[in-house]
């Protein structure tokens, strides 16, 4: 019953949009495709849906050649980032459209539609026109339409990104309930996102994609703890993981020839040489014994403050608890939690993670 993609290549221009994608999707599971804008997330979803045909490679679903089946016979559902509904139909007509298209029994349609409307909390809005709904409600209609279809493959392309913060939080919770719910568990869910936090919250398998290439697949925990390379570490953290050139020499860890640490015990066994040293913004902290950094930008995010800092050529971002304001060029003392340091080889591959056994 699984969906298999093999060696999918899509190269409409000089650049690869999808570069040798091989993936397996199992029913009843949630997959999050995490990648930056233009990394190929939407292209991948559209390829699975059948809106784009890859230049080479294969897609198999339930043992059949999926590429030979046109979009309209594939029984997939897709929710877009933009709120896409049929403007000439009201809420109810929108939701029953795919079912009518499938020529389902009218009584069954009635039941499925009211079920779906109930689930997304749009009861009482059945006769409304799409234009009379708020953005969040419009996206609920799109959601209800794809739920009512009971499609075997459900593709969600950043469905929450155009909503305001509060709604996003609420709907994301509902998503998890709706999709991981018992009756829906025979479907494959693929959720594309640019937001690492969202990907972690959805807590499914994460597929990290960049420039059309799969960089890493694995559970949220695994990807967070052991990013396969420096790129993944940047993509899966917000703010991106701080990466600076450094080397281990003479029992010292030296960043950019500027900052020196005594090698902490957990890194004692590391061979000397050049590395890319990674540390999360949350693992930098204010410390009077720390190193002198200058503030470039200070931004407040919720109950935290992001400080963009530099010390000569070393640039990094630190997450400071609490809302504080800093002047540009103000000097602050910052220290590193050395037990949380990652080491990447110069080629970018992960060399050492604090979570490795």
């Amino acid at each position: 019953m699984s969906l298999n993609l093999g060696n999918i290549i899509f190269k409409p221009t000089e650049q690869y949009h999808l570069n040798d994608i091989t993936l397996n999707f199992e029913p009843g599971k949630m997959y999050t495709i995490l990648g930056r804008t233009l990394s190929g997330k939407t292209t991948l979803l559209k390829t699975i849906a059948g809106l784009l045909s890859p230049d080479s490679g294969y897609i198999q679903f339930e043992g059949k050649d999926f590429l030979a089946i046109p979009v309209w016979q594939r029984n997939v559902a897709m929710v877009y980032q933009q709120f896409i509904n049929y403007p000439h139909l009201n809420v109810k007509q929108n939701i029953e459209f795919p079912l009518k298209q499938r020529k389902m029994d009218p009584n069954l349609i009635e039941k499925e539609v009211s079920d779906a409307i109930q689930k997304v909390g749009l009861k009482g809005f059945e006769e409304r026109k799409i234009q009379e709904l708020s953005g969040g409600q419009q996206q609920r209609v799109a959601l209800a339409r794809s739920l009512a279809k009971k499609a075997k493959i459900l593709l969600l392309d950043e469905p929450l990104v155009n909503l305001d913060y509060k709604l996003r939080e609420g709907l994301r919770e509902e998503f998890k309930k709706l999709f991981i719910g018992s009756e829906a568990s025979q479907s494959i869910f693929v959720y594309a996102s640019t937001d690492p936090l969202e990907a972690m919250q959805l807590n499914g398998d994460i597929i990290v994609i960049d420039e059309g290439k799969i960089l890493q697949t694995g559970s949220a925990k695994d990807v967070f703890e052991n990013p396969a390379n420096a790129k993944v570490a940047e993509i899966t953290n917000d703010p991106a993981m701080n990466l600076n050139k450094g080397k281990i020499d003479n029992n010292k860890l030296i960043l950019n020839n500027e900052i020196q640490f005594n090698l902490p015990s957990n890194l004692q066994s590391m061979p000397s040489g050049d590395y890319l040293v990674g540390i999360r913004a949350t693992d930098l902290y204010l410390d009077d014994q720390g190193f002198d950094f200058q503030v470039d930008i200070s931004e407040i995010s919720g109950s935290e403050t992001f400080l963009h800092l530099h010390h000569q050529d070393i640039k990094c971002v630190a997450t400071i608890e609490g809302v504080k304001s800093y002047e540009v060029d103000e000097h602050v003392k910052i220290n590193f939690d050395l037990s949380k340091i990652y080491l990447f080889k110069e080629s970018g591959e992960l060399h050492y993670s604090p979570y490795q056994n």
Partner: protein
């Protein structure tokens, strides 16, 4: 301050209305005058300042043998030709525009934009350039001086307008709507007819309005491509002109000829006020 603003606003609206309505009133009053009333200085109020007569109007409906021009035949010819050509232009134009907006065409260096420009370029040339080609073309087909020939020519003239407006319209409709229709089980034809077309009606109304206006007011091609068998209204009206310009009949003819446009404008206005034209697709 708001009072002054309201005053200025209404003053401007009334002034503008005068400019728009005055010619109509002028034409209406003139159409009921005779030679003496027209040439005898400016008069406005019937019965008081001049004696109204129906002479100007009756000329339009009298047959040629009685000194009239009988516009009823040309009138219906004009309506038939304009509306048929507009309808076909909208139908073909919408289909072409959809294809141009959604699919990529490539023939050497010719691409979608070039094809769109090719359509529009038909309207850039002065009409005179097209006169001889059209004449030869229709005469080869044996369609000179026929309704079918005129409709054919008007489609060539009007379809670019439809394509132009509809390409712009479709470019603003997110293509994700078509894609969603495909995903929801429509084949490409069903997606177009069940989803895209019902949402394109506002654009088609606007395009239709332009086609009807441009078709209706054309004199040049109607004049060149017809002789005696088939005549259109604008040509017939010009036939009124003799040694003495019959202002009264011309005014009546002018009023008769704008009537269909006014009807069309009212119909479209109803759509506008219902909000059907705007915001159907944001």
């Amino acid at each position: 301050m708001p009072k002054l603003y309201t005053f200025i606003k209404y003053f401007c609206v009334i002034l503008w209305s005068c400019f728009v309505i005055a010619p109509f009133l002028w034409a209406i009053s003139t159409s009921f005058k005779d030679f003496n009333s027209v040439t005898g200085g400016a008069t406005y109020i019937p019965w008081l300042q001049f004696e109204p007569t129906l002479d100007g109007w009756s000329v339009l409906f009298k047959p040629g043998s009685q000194g009239g021009i009988n516009i009823i035949g040309p009138y219906f010819n004009s309506i038939f030709v304009t509306f048929t050509a507009s309808f076909i232009s909208i139908a073909l134009g919408t289909l072409s525009a959809y294809a141009l907006s959604r699919y990529t065409f490539k023939a050497g260096f010719v691409q979608n934009n070039d094809i769109t420009f090719f359509f529009i370029s038909q309207r850039i040339m002065p009409p005179v350039v097209l006169a001889i080609p059209f004449f030869l073309f229709l005469s080869t087909l044996g369609l000179l001086d026929s309704l079918a020939g005129l409709i054919l020519v008007y489609i060539v003239l009007l379809m670019p307008i439809a394509v132009w407006i509809m390409v712009d319209f479709f470019n603003r409709v997110p293509k994700e709507i078509d894609e969603t229709a495909l995903i929801d089980g429509c084949n490409p034809f069903q997606a177009f007819f069940k989803v895209v077309l019902p949402n394109s009606i506002p654009g088609m109304i606007v395009a239709g309005l332009f086609c009807i206006i441009f078709g209706w007011i054309d004199f040049f091609f109607a004049f060149i491509l017809t002789f005696t068998n088939v005549q259109l209204l604008p040509v017939k009206i010009v036939a009124l002109n003799s040694s003495i310009t019959p202002w009264w009949s011309l005014s009546a003819a002018a009023l008769v000829s704008v009537a269909p446009l006014i009807v069309v404008a009212f119909v479209v206005e109803r759509f506008l006020s219902k909000g059907n034209l705007s915001g159907a697709l944001k």
